[in-house]
């Protein structure tokens, strides 16, 4: 024991040195960049590096409904339609379908009607879809067959399953052609209660036979639905299927571009339902199977996920037409070329913003958003107010893309509340006053670094019905001054307060400052400035704002029970149609009464009437006018303080090509091309390690050692004497 420890002692003396040398040596073997966070060599492939901050919960297209899940599954699964990558306004184009669907209107007897038929006559609408022949699924074990044509892995024994670590442990793979039946099967899956699709409740109101089917299969295994038919959805031939919906619902076509309506082979459910696979985390949620340009080659949500090019991907080419100006930007250079361009996409788990941003600057991530802490480093504004990149960013060849998102953040009032809610003139004036006082321009400037547009109404720019200029402003909050919308003076708000009976913000009942409650889930330290800001805004009117922070659950509970008073919420469009925004204020969608999405429980018969009218209309002069009327109603009633439409700023390195922000499409990946040679060069240039401080540290260490050694010698001499 003794010798061992004394040896360790000696080693220890030079431990730091050894450690440092080891670091240098080891990393020198790995490559020129010591800080390269990737161990694997790219091997001549074109590899894109992206990140995810939270592991996706579901990759099953029937369940997935959040953007971090879509980032993956939109590359893997293919619904019949997609949004055109380049054209604006957003336009649907066929993806696996041969063309746009044939739409037929039927009356209640099932007779065909002319396309000009009256809305009230239309009882059903048929969507006839035809898909391209020859599309094949990605190679996948669940489709693997042996020589006899039997599925190899559909009857795994318990022993076989025990040995499995991952799906990749099954060596054989197979593929088959995509059929219309697969699309039908997926719609049936949406209805299955065990799958818990988030849109099941919604689709129940539209697709014929959906609800009955759902009840009929409630106790059945997932794969058993294959042979049970749903009245409204039928495959007419291997390449053709029909969906029948209730009444007229022109927005239905947009749903057909969402991953919910992607095809799913029935083999998937048969395979994944085998007992024991679930315990191994081998489920459809983790190992998807699709026809898309990429397949999920590695799924380790604890660290990274890798998408690999699907070798069987059907012919699809880069679009050859776009918006005016796209050609000049070089966006059409790849027109007509076979998609996709990138061989492999590596998604790394990156929870913290600091390392993420630093790695982006070092060239290890190809794209990045901008956290507000990095904003000044990346963006500056020109004299005219346009955002551009800073010199440092331009030098690195970074590109900036901005786009106003199709979403809205708003400060909602609970219309059931006794103080702020209701249809009384008093409450309306109070709400209008608050709408003026809460200065969202300042909010955008402080908390979003100007990345947003103050909302003038419900509809964000880019969605049909949004009015620009003088006609588009909210006249209850803004004045049109010098060709710009200018927020009304706070005095106007104070006058409104006085008219509402709250002179100087004093509640006549208590003779104290009026107390309002702000319900929020923002309880973390990072939100504190925001909450302080809200307090200050209400203070302008003499109102005391009390922040009631809770976790998301309690918040939802409060919303459901109608116990909230003022809340901050957002909505992100499912599809680019004004209906998807106005329904947030539609009476029959009220949260408390009907459990819908109308969180503020706004009720206005006039609004509901106009909404019903607008809902089923095609875009045109009349619809536009109704939309403006609807806007006027909600601006006057002010059930919301229309907050802002965030503007997304994204940074991309110079080697990132074919870049055009598309807020509706999730499958941009296949259009992206990267210049790997340029990247390798830049990375080497940006990541030269700095050694001299190590040297200095070493010298200091040695210098410190000298007196220690001297003291030691002296001590030895002393003990000997």
């Amino acid at each position: 024991m003794f010798s061992l420890f004394s040896m360790k002692m000696h080693i220890d003396q030079s431990r730091t040195l050894v450690l440092i040398l080891l670091t240098v040596l080891l990393s020198a073997c790995v490559g020129s960049e010591l800080n390269n966070p990737y161990a694997q060599e790219e091997g001549g492939q074109s590899v894109l590096y992206e990140s995810f901050s939270e592991r996706p919960k579901h990759l099953d297209p029937a369940v997935a409904y959040s953007s971090n899940e879509y980032a993956f599954i939109a590359q893997i699964y293919e619904p019949p339609y997609q949004y055109h990558y380049l054209k604006r306004p957003y336009e649907l184009t066929p993806l696996t379908a041969t063309g746009m669907p044939e739409i037929e209107y039927l009356n209640s007897k099932g007779e065909k009607l002319a396309s000009t038929a009256n809305d009230s006559d239309i009882a059903y609408t048929d969507y006839l879809l035809e898909i391209q022949p020859g599309i094949r699924y990605q190679p996948h074990p669940i489709l693997a067959k042996d020589a006899q044509g039997e599925y190899i892995y559909h009857h795994l024994t318990g022993e076989q399953i025990d040995r499995l670590g991952s799906l990749q442990d099954l060596p054989e793979t197979g593929s088959r052609e995509l059929t219309a039946e697969d699309y039908v099967y997926q719609i049936k899956r949406l209805a299955h209660p065990k799958i818990q699709s988030p849109i099941a409740e919604l689709m129940k109101n539209y697709i014929i036979g959906f609800d009955d089917f759902s009840k009929q299969v409630a106790n059945k295994q997932k794969f058993e639905i294959k042979d049970i038919s749903m009245t409204g959805v039928t495959a007419l031939s291997p390449y053709k299927y029909r969906i029948r919906i209730k009444g007229k619902y022109p927005q239905f076509i947009f749903w057909l571009a969402m991953p919910f309506f992607s095809p799913m082979p029935w083999e998937a459910d048969v395979f994944y339902e085998q007992p024991g696979l679930n315990d191994k985390n081998i489920t459809l949620d983790w190992f998807p199977i699709g026809t898309g340009p990429y397949l999920l080659a590695e799924n380790n949500p604890n660290r990274r996920m890798i998408l690999q090019r699907n070798p069987l991907f059907h012919p699809e080419t880069y679009p050859s037409e776009g918006e005016p100006g796209d050609k000049e930007k070089g966006l059409l250079a790849d027109a007509g070329k076979q998609l996709p361009f990138i061989d492999k996409v590596v998604y790394m788990l990156e929870k913290e913003t600091i390392p993420y941003w630093n790695k982006f600057l070092q060239g290890y991530y190809d794209a990045s958003g901008i956290a507000s802490d990095n904003f000044d480093q990346a963006i500056q504004f020109t004299g005219s107010g346009a955002a551009t990149l800073t010199e440092a960013m331009k030098e690195k060849g970074i590109q900036l893309e901005t786009a106003v998102t199709t979403s809205i953040f708003y400060l909602g009032f609970n219309m059931l509340d006794a103080t702020v809610g209701g249809d009384s003139e008093k409450a309306r004036k109070l709400r209008q006053a608050i709408a003026i006082a809460v200065d969202y321009e300042e909010y955008i400037a402080i908390f979003a670094n100007g990345r947003g547009v103050a909302a003038q109404g419900l509809i964000p720019p880019g969605i049909y019905g949004h009015a620009e200029g003088k006609d588009g402003i909210n006249p209850y909050v803004y004045d049109w001054v010098n060709g710009k919308a200018q927020r009304k003076n706070i005095e106007v708000a104070k006058r409104l307060m006085a008219e509402a009976g709250y002179q100087g913000g004093v509640d006549p009942k208590t003779r104290q400052a009026l107390i309002l409650y702000f319900d929020t889930t923002s309880v973390s330290i990072d939100d504190r400035p925001r909450m302080n800001w809200y307090r200050k805004q209400f203070e302008k009117l003499g109102i005391k704002l009390v922040i009631r922070g809770t976790d998301y659950n309690r918040f939802q509970q409060k919303m459901r029970d109608g116990n909230a008073q003022i809340f901050f919420w957002g909505w992100n469009a499912d599809y680019p149609d004004p209906e998807n925004f106005f329904f947030l204020l539609y009476g029959p969608n009220a949260k408390v009464a009907h459990g819908g999405e109308n969180a503020g429980n706004y009720q206005n018969p006039e609004f509901d009437r106009l909404f019903e009218q607008m809902r089923n209309m095609g875009n045109g002069e009349q619809r536009y006018r109704i939309i403006q009327n609807l806007q006027e109603l909600v601006r006057r009633d002010a059930p919301w303080v229309f907050g802002f439409h965030p503007k997304s700023f994204s940074l991309y390195h110079g080697w990132y090509k074919n870049l055009k922000p598309n807020l509706m499409a999730n499958n941009q990946l296949k259009y992206t091309r990267i210049d790997t040679a340029e990247r390798a060069e830049k990375r080497a240039e940006w990541n030269k390690p700095v050694y001299w401080p190590l040297l200095i540290a070493f010298v200091v260490f040695v210098l410190l050692l000298i007196p220690a050694i001297l003291a030691y010698r002296r001590r030895i001499r002393e003990t000997i004497q």
Partner: protein, 325 residues
């Protein structure tokens, strides 16, 4: 000896039962199964039916402690408490609230945790002991005083500063190591250097002081004086006698934390995005995934009990005078 071990293992059961009851009460006072379901199902279009379905799938549709509707012993067994507890004791942690199998995740994530914690422990031990020995060697000299002051200063700095500072300096300014991340196998090394270095550094202050006290106590004992009187040199006495005798408290102190290394370091792992059990726990806390948190609490307690047992055993191995009975 064997008997003793068996008795200790049996004693562990009421202990783990207590832990289990405590965590169960804490978590279910906080959250009803309905809340959990809503939390996990996300925000758009959640209906009561979806909540019911979710609860049924996860086994949360039973009463908490007492099932009045069931027959006979099922009154006790058909409850959330019983079902979930039995799973824990069999080390079948079941499915997390977000739908992944916990046991599989734990098996996978335990190794990165160990890869950070074990080197930190070993290197830290060596560094601390050698510095402490040096200070004892130079006791009552300016070197020792400087050392003591340095230790107190190092101790007084929050570990968060070490992490933020280290990442900023070595990762960002000097570009010597990747800022964060992890990889399997040998290539993990370059990701581990910084966290281990920082882990060791932040422990130096208190560690060196602790070992110094141990050694000083030993140095003052009579047999050391005798040894020195016998003519042994300072170094030889230190290594031969002091270190050897101080090994007992050192070793037992190490053994007790050994099993807990699997649990990983919460802060370190989330700062360096190392996919270990520490960051697993933090994520679970933040997303209120109670199934995972309960599993981790239970696992932690089991490992702690094992640590205690190992300590007792190591006592007998190091010091033959101790007999377990």
């Amino acid at each position: 000896m064997t008997q003793y071990i068996i008795r200790r293992i049996l004693y562990a059961f009421p202990l783990l039962m207590g832990v289990n009851i405590l965590t169960f009460v804490l978590f279910f006072v906080v959250n009803s199964p309905d809340d959990m379901a809503r939390m996990q199902l996300g925000q758009k279009h959640v209906t009561e039916k979806a909540v019911e379905n979710w609860k049924q799938q996860r086994g949360y549709d039973l009463p908490l402690l007492w099932n009045g509707k069931a027959e006979g012993e099922e009154k006790l067994t058909r409850t959330i408490f019983y079902q979930k507890s039995v799973g824990l004791f069999l080390f079948r942690f079941g499915v997390s609230d977000s739908g992944r199998n916990i046991s599989a995740d734990i098996q996978q994530r335990m190794w990165p945790s160990l890869a950070v914690a074990l080197p930190t422990l070993i290197v830290g031990l060596l560094v601390n002991i050698s510095f402490a020995l040096m200070m004892v060697l130079f006791r009552n000299s300016y070197l020792e005083h400087a050392g003591v002051v340095l230790c107190v200063i190092l101790m007084s700095v929050s570990s968060l500063f070490y992490i933020i500072g280290g990442q900023f300096l070595i990762g960002k300014l000097l570009r010597l190591v990747p800022i964060s991340g992890y990889d399997g196998g040998l290539s993990a090394l370059k990701f581990l250097i910084l966290p281990v270095l920082i882990g060791v550094f932040s422990g130096i202050g208190s560690g060196v002081r602790w070992y110094r006290t141990l050694f000083l106590e030993e140095v003052e004992k009579d047999y050391v004086r005798t040894a020195r009187a016998k003519g042994l040199t300072e170094t030889r006495t230190l290594f031969r006698h002091v270190l050897k005798n101080a090994m007992i408290p050192i070793l037992t102190g190490v053994v007790v934390v050994l099993p807990l290394l699997f649990m990983g370091s919460l802060i370190m792992e989330s700062f360096f995005s190392i996919p270990g059990l520490g960051s697993y726990t933090i994520d679970a806390i933040n997303s209120q995934d109670f199934a995972i948190v309960r599993a981790m609490v239970f696992l932690g307690s089991v490992l702690y009990v094992i640590g205690l047992l190992l300590t007792d055993i190591s006592y007998t191995l190091v010091d033959p005078r101790v007999r377990l009975s």
